[in-house]
């Protein structure tokens, strides 16, 4: 007496193969979408004030440090006080409705609620000062901000990504005075430049835990 019909074997094989496929596919898919490149890159929230980096840093050619003053002195680059905007906008476009929030902030003393884009977990201590002084350009982590109307995250900012550069820093190094030149193109092999800088300035990026986790 046959307990199972003949087709059962075929169905079983098909189901088994499908199951394997779904399992492996699922794992692959999960591995893919949970990568930092996928979950982190591209974040570009709407900011309370439609500030265009493309206009200011790109077209007008303002230096990054005009606004982000902390970048050479502190761990944090800093977001400028409304006062900095008003340095120019007290005269330029002084009545633009798009600047209403800036003016209001300047007058009332209430801060503008900017949305943070580049965010590291609390247990990571990143020091802008150390990186800028070593000659790591803004562009290495933040991308061509001077071409972005709305700033978006372009790098995963994950630990593995940090380590890539810490293990092989030469391609990302340039003379420190050029760090804010986002469009800088080296006239020769950037790795070679980097190697020279490393030798001259004793740049040895750490890869141990306490370099970032304290």
């Amino acid at each position: 007496m046959q307990l199972f019909e003949k087709q059962v074997d075929r169905y079983f094989r098909i189901f088994f193969l499908l199951f394997l496929l779904v399992l492996l596919g699922g794992i692959t898919l999960f591995a893919f979408v949970s990568r930092p490149q996928y979950t982190e890159v591209g974040y570009s929230p709407i900011q309370p004030v439609a500030y265009s980096h493309k206009l200011h840093a790109g077209n007008l050619g303002m230096d990054c440090r005009y606004c982000h003053i902390g970048v050479e002195q502190s761990a944090h680059a800093g977001i400028p006080p409304s006062e900095v905007c008003m340095n120019c906008h007290a005269r330029v476009k002084k009545d633009s409705p798009r600047l209403a929030k800036i003016r209001e902030s300047y007058e009332t003393g209430q801060p503008v609620n900017w949305v943070r884009i580049h965010r590291l977990p609390d247990y990571v201590h990143f020091n802008h000062r150390a990186h800028v002084l070593a000659g790591v350009s803004c562009v290495s982590c933040h991308g061509r901000v001077d071409q972005m109307v709305e700033v978006r995250q372009v790098q995963p900012l994950s630990m593995a990504w940090c380590l890539d550069c810490h293990r092989n820093p030469a391609p990302s190094l340039r003379p420190p005075e050029l760090v804010t030149r986002l469009d800088w193109q080296p006239d020769r092999d950037p790795t070679e430049i980097g190697r020279e800088l490393m030798a001259r300035r004793g740049i040895k990026p750490p890869t141990n835990c306490s370099a970032c986790h304290r």
Binding site: L3, F4, R35, M159, W161
Partner: protein
């Protein structure tokens, strides 16, 4: 309970038992209506399992602080329970593998039972390393999973990683071994099943086993291979568990005697647990003609032998502590015997070394009540052995200023009780739904006996 007069060489299956009788006795247990007593037992152990679940939920949501662990006693009930259960889990594979390789025929009536016990014990054991960590939701970091977040890998120098590999391999291989042995019997169950549902379920589980001679050919080779692989595996697992301690530098942990000492202890405790459960199952399901006094007596002999090894290890530890001249080592052992946890130490010695000495006497070796009590005592003693090793070594180590005491909380106690609940629940399900004696092997043994 029918008393069987034992001839000089006790039989492994009583005379006059036919193959069909084997089938009907073993399969009958599963096919019979569920006894009331089973339900009562299941209700009890099931509730204990729920207690375990509740305790683990409380633990994960609140923190390790719900246990009594502290500084300096970073491990206490958690790892004690782990080593205890892993130790219990050694008897099954040992019986299946080593005794198989040594052609010890008496294993056939008890190996299935012991293997199932192994599996459930390993399941209970696995709970503890997984949940003793402070952040169990990160426990997957123990496995070498590639990732693009941190680029970090496990530290393969850590005995805990060895543990992860040893225990997961052991669990997997034990399962394969157990299931491999089950396949022919599942086919028997399939072919005897009265309801369609049972037929289909056993049919699927038996994977279409036909009992063809070609099947048996590969099957026997696979079984032999698994036995051959499991033998070093079972020895390695408790050796590696002992490395958790031996590789450290703590007095009382850092000892080269640990691997054999732990393996002997594991076999000791495993056999004790088999005897405890077998005596009950044999009586309850009436398996006297399959599980004879010969089986029980042999297991008691193994307990006596391993008990002596364990006792020897206790003595050698003291001797080495004295002989090494290391003051920390000396203190650790004096503290075990005379310190604040000496009650645990002497409980351990009484249960593990003194109690099995009864088995020198045939009268006690073949007395079911005596062996039941002794096996229970050995279970208790072996739990205390791990407690003594872990807690008394940790609580007073190098700097007296950092010494402390461990006191279990109610969560500790209920988690331990709950792990027994899980173990027994799985066991009850096993005896209810799967053949607890390997029918095909018993039959093969009977056939070869006739042939001889």
């Amino acid at each position: 309970m029918a008393t069987v007069s034992q001839p000089a060489e006790s039989p492994l299956v009583l005379e006059g038992v036919t193959l069909t009788q084997v089938t009907s006795t073993v399969a009958g247990v599963v096919e019979r209506r569920t006894p009331r007593a089973w339900w009562f037992a299941f209700a009890f152990t099931g509730s204990l399992t729920l207690v375990l679940l509740a305790m683990l939920t409380y633990l994960v949501t609140t923190g390790i602080g719900v246990w009594g662990n502290n500084s300096p006693v970073g491990w206490a009930f958690d790892i004690t329970n782990f080593v205890f259960w892993i130790g219990i889990g050694h008897a099954g594979t040992l019986i299946s593998a080593i005794l198989y390789l040594f052609r010890q025929r008496w294993r056939t009536s008890i190996n299935r039972f012991a293997e199932a016990m192994t599996l459930f014990a390993v399941a209970c054991a696995a709970i503890f390393p997984a949940f003793h960590v402070g952040r169990p939701w990160r426990a997957y970091w123990l496995f070498p999973i590639p990732n693009e977040w941190s680029g970090m890998w496990p530290n393969f120098r850590s005995p805990l990683i060895w543990d992860v590999f040893a225990v997961s391999t052991y669990g997997t291989v034990s399962f394969l071994f157990w299931y491999l042995g089950l396949i022919p019997d599942l086919a028997t169950m399939r072919d005897r099943a009265q309801t369609h549902a049972r037929r289909v379920i056993y049919g699927l589980l038996s994977l279409g086993w036909r009992g063809s001679a070609r099947h048996w050919n590969h099957y026997e080779m696979a079984y032999l291979l698994l036995a051959g692989l499991s033998t070093p595996l079972v020895l390695s697992v408790h050796s590696i568990v002992s490395f958790d301690f031996a590789v450290s530098l703590l007095p009382g942990w850092h000892a080269t005697i640990f691997p054999p000492y732990f393996v002997a202890g594991a076999i000791f405790s495993g056999f004790a647990m088999v005897v405890t459960l077998m005596v009950i199952a044999r009586w309850f399901f009436g398996l006297h003609h399959l599980v004879t006094m010969k089986h029980l007596e042999n297991m008691n002999k193994v307990m006596l032998a391993t008990g002596l090894i364990v006792g020897y290890a206790y003595a050698v530890e003291f001797f080495i502590a004295w002989y090494s001249g290391n003051p920390f080592e000396r203190f650790a052992f004096v503290n075990r015997a005379l310190g604040p946890y000496s009650w645990a130490y002497w409980t351990m010695v009484a249960c593990n070394v003194l109690a099995p000495q009864l088995f020198w006497f045939r009268r006690f070796r073949t007395s079911v009540p005596v062996m039941f009590v002794v096996s229970l005592l050995v279970n208790v003693g072996m739990w205390f052995e791990r407690f003594v090793i872990i807690v008394t070594s940790l609580h007073r180590d190098f700097l007296p200023a950092a010494w402390g005491m461990f006191r279990p909380t109610w969560v500790d106690l209920l988690t331990l009780a709950g792990s027994f609940g899980l173990f027994l629940t799985l066991f009850l399900l096993f005896v209810r739904f799967l053949p607890m004696i390997s029918m095909s092997e018993v039959k093969a043994m009977m056939a070869s006996r006739e042939g001889a």
